[in-house]
């Protein structure tokens, strides 16, 4: 069957890479998950009797708290990465600068996700008492 794409478009590699909807879908999926997660986090944090170390550790060491906090950190950093990526792609028009910014932002988000999960697990397994 004859391709509907123009010869120039084909040679230049323009057009569908068959993953256009992937980013959009993940952005929606993470945002749906973040609605209950962020609401839960805000309410639980504000409900704590105090924010001293003993209280926070006791709260964070509970299995459900640790589990939901890990989910929050992972989904929030993922959603943030997807979001700032689009912002950079839209507003940074110099190719080299754009790529560099995206690389740095990806590394920062990966670092934040790992640091957050590590911290929660350390507290949950009794390493911060």
């Amino acid at each position: 069957m004859k391709s509907l794409r123009s010869p120039l478009g084909q040679v230049a590699g323009l057009g569908s890479a068959k993953n256009g909807v992937h980013h959009w879908w993940l952005q929606r999926l993470t945002s749906v998950a973040l609605v209950p997660l962020t609401v839960w986090f805000t309410i639980s944090l504000l409900s704590l009797p105090s924010l001293d170390h003993v209280t926070v550790v006791a709260w964070m060491a509970q299995s459900w708290t640790a589990l939901l906090l890990i989910l929050l950190v992972l989904v929030a950093t993922w959603h943030s990465q997807l979001g700032v990526r689009v912002v950079v792609e839209d507003y940074v028009h110099t190719t080299g600068l754009r790529t560099l910014t995206l690389v740095i932002l990806t590394f920062v988000h990966a670092f934040l996700a790992v640091a957050g999960v590590f911290a929660i697990l350390k507290v949950a397994f009794g390493g911060a008492a």
């Binding site: 609605v35 962020t38 170390h53 911290a119 929660i120």
Partner: protein, 131 residues
């Protein structure tokens, strides 16, 4: 090669349009919340660090400067949450007519103010958390 189309062209639209204003506000609040992630992870690392590092971080995080940051993050969170839900409703194909969109923009603004006021009261006055 001809320049490929880029978006969004912020400068050629009239900013009085509700939808554009609410769209760019959603982006700005999203970026603010991304920066807020740094505070969250710093706090989590401080908790994991033990009593003494936590006390040091707590001193930093309860300063007047950070109270302003919390107020900003709180407002950004409320807007991004409500406007995000509006986007999810749009994704189902509902509420896309101009009149509906105008109305939902007003609802988003009102809900944000109510939510931010309630959470702000809880954070700064009732719980005294920011102290």
């Amino acid at each position: 090669m001809r320049a490929r189309p880029i978006s969004p062209h912020l400068t050629i639209y009239r900013m009085s349009r509700y939808s554009l204003l609410s769209s760019i506000t959603n982006r700005i609040t999203g970026v603010i919340l991304s920066v807020g992630l740094l505070v969250l992870i710093y706090w989590l690392m401080a908790v994991a660090g033990g009593n003494r590092p936590y006390l040091q971080a707590h001193t930093v995080l309860s300063s007047g400067f950070f109270k302003i940051i919390y107020a900003g993050l709180l407002a950004a969170f409320c807007y991004h949450l409500v406007a995000g839900i509006r986007h999810l409703v749009w994704d189902t194909g509902r509420g896309l007519e101009r009149a509906q969109s105008k109305r939902s923009a007003a609802i988003v603004l009102a809900a944000t103010i109510v939510l931010a006021a309630a959470l702000g009261y809880w954070l700064f006055l009732a719980a005294g958390r920011a102290s």
